[in-house]
């Protein structure tokens, strides 16, 4: 078995004796893309904050590979507008060289914004800047908290593609939180459905049939995902047949998960 970048054994995080993350086991290796999904308040952000070391754990064991460098892409880049800051300066604050910063910005496709003010970036540009910032540190593990939030639908697909190609290029592990179930199912290796404890985990194709998943997200979502995944894996000849019931499912799905 390959060396684990991060290993969680029965990790519990409690606030006021109420467990928010309850006995979670998790193992991330190089090359993995693991997506954490779950309803609001399921402890997703708390779990990754524990992995990042900014949320103390109450019980269990969390082991990081020695010398592990983590690149973190927070949910928002909310910046105080009273602080004047350019993209370049923000990148250089990572302590990496000009060349490394420029390279990272090119990888995420925002090199042309290097002299812009961070306050003028759009949501998608900010996410790409944060990603570049994480990449400049040459991470072994990339941790993303809802990377596609505030990004339009085309941008979302592109962003997940980018994350996958960066994984291939850097050969790092990836943990991310996401709400965009369809995109997640297409982009990810392994899904962990969290609702305080791990409801279920596995490959996207399997998980949508899991009773625990259906219970958490409702049958329409699970079905639409199953359909989606089916379509994704098959040739386009089948397309017509599948689409019949799909439109309804999709509409219902988008009601359910926001």
């Amino acid at each position: 078995m390959a060396e684990a970048l991060v290993e969680l054994r029965r990790v519990t995080v409690s606030f006021d004796n109420r467990p928010v993350v309850d006995h979670v086991d998790l193992r991330v290796q190089r090359g993995d893309i693991i997506t954490i999904i779950g309803p609001n308040g399921a402890g997703k952000t708390t779990l990754i904050k524990a992995i990042l070391g900014i949320q103390p754990i109450s019980d269990g064991a969390l082991t990081l590979a020695p010398g592990l460098t983590i690149g973190y892409v927070p949910q928002h880049l909310t910046l105080e507008t009273t602080l004047p800051l350019s993209v370049k300066r923000f990148m250089l604050l990572s302590g990496r060289s000009h060349v490394e910063c420029r390279e990272a910005l090119s990888k995420t496709g925002v090199a042309h914004l290097i002299d812009a003010s961070v306050h003028r970036l759009s949501g998608g540009e900010k996410q790409r800047l944060l990603l570049a910032r994480a990449l400049a540190r040459r991470p072994d593990l990339l941790v993303l908290d809802e990377p596609a939030q505030g990004v339009d639908i085309n941008g979302q697909a592109a962003l997940y593609d980018l994350i996958r190609s960066l994984r291939d290029e850097l050969h790092c592990g990836v943990i991310m939180i996401s709400h965009d179930l369809h995109l997640v199912m297409a982009a990810t290796d392994k899904v962990i459905c969290l609702n305080q404890h791990v409801c279920c985990s596995g490959y996207p194709a399997d998980i949508s049939h899991d009773p625990a998943f259906i219970e958490t997200f409702g049958r329409p979502v699970a079905e639409s995902l199953a359909v989606y995944h089916h379509r994704h894996n098959h040739s386009h000849d089948l397309h017509g047949d599948v689409v019949t019931g799909e439109d309804d499912d999709h509409r219902e799905c988008s009601h359910v998960h926001h």
Partner: protein
């Protein structure tokens, strides 16, 4: 030597030299107050300075030292209290700011033997600057500037995004303490010039004025220092000629510069 002696022998020049020393550190620290939204926090610390003065008399330590220690203790207490989140931070600050001021005033009233110029402490006094104070100001300024230079990247990073800074290994909590210590020092040394009640103004007005024109953090700091210099020299000159209280004169000058810059400058949004 004789020229320096002549200059330092004149109380106006002493006040001006001291004031410029204060503005030199009020610039960068004021930027942090603005960036981290700590204006009310700064006010609370400044108000507690009076308590520090009273305590210094009680246990007979140098006033500056007493003020610094009181401010640091209060700052740490504030950070710890605000973590418990039972009261909103602004409520907590409001309680502590005014209580510290009131306790300071009450304590001082119990010490009739000690003659102090209360108005001078609250609003600043041009005449009160001694050579000894100048030593404190420039010693404090040197220490603060050294700390800022040393800790600059971490301080800036934890101001921009605290969690990101933590993940990148920036010792956020220790830097917060260092910042508190620096605030306490600047309050202790600025007290003589602008007075306890107006120190926050000297911190935030030049920094806010600088924001309008600045394109990066360091540029904003440099401009804040320049505007601080203008406020201090203008205000003290005003005080000298018109016999107005020193602190309010400095603040009025700073405010005029603020209005002038915001009225005339083209908005830069960097």
């Amino acid at each position: 030597m004789s020229i320096i002696d002549a200059i330092l022998g004149d109380f106006f020049w002493r006040a001006l030299i001291g004031g410029l020393g204060v503005a030199l550190v009020a610039g960068p620290l004021g930027c942090f107050v603005v960036w981290r939204r700590m204006a009310y926090f700064g006010d609370t610390l400044a108000h507690s300075a009076l308590l520090g003065i009273a305590l210094s008399f009680l246990i007979s330590v140098p006033i500056n030292l007493g003020v610094i220690i009181t401010c640091v203790v209060l700052a740490v207490a504030l950070v710890l209290f605000s973590r418990s989140k039972t009261l909103a931070t602004d409520t907590l600050l409001g309680i502590l700011a005014h209580s510290a001021l009131a306790i300071g005033l009450v304590t001082l009233s119990f010490m009739p033997d000690i003659r102090i110029d209360l108005t001078g402490l609250l609003f600043g006094d041009l005449l009160a600057m001694s050579r000894h104070d100048l030593l404190w100001i420039y010693g404090g300024a040197a220490l603060i500037l050294a700390l800022l230079t040393l800790l600059w990247r971490g301080l800036l990073m934890s101001t921009i995004h605290e969690e990101l800074a933590r993940v990148e290994g920036v010792p956020v909590e220790r830097l917060r303490l260092a910042l508190m210590l620096m605030f306490s020092i600047v309050i202790a040394v600025a007290m003589k010039i602008v007075g306890v009640l107006l120190i926050t103004a000297l911190l935030i007005i030049p920094a806010a004025t600088a924001r309008r024109l600045a394109y990066n953090p360091e540029h904003m700091v440099a401009l804040a220092i320049v505007f601080g210099f203008v406020a201090v020299s203008g205000g003290l000159t005003l005080s000298w000629h018109l016999d107005t209280p020193a602190g309010p004169s400095v603040v009025v000058t700073a405010f005029c510069v603020f209005l002038l810059v915001y009225g005339s400058a083209r908005q830069t949004q960097s």
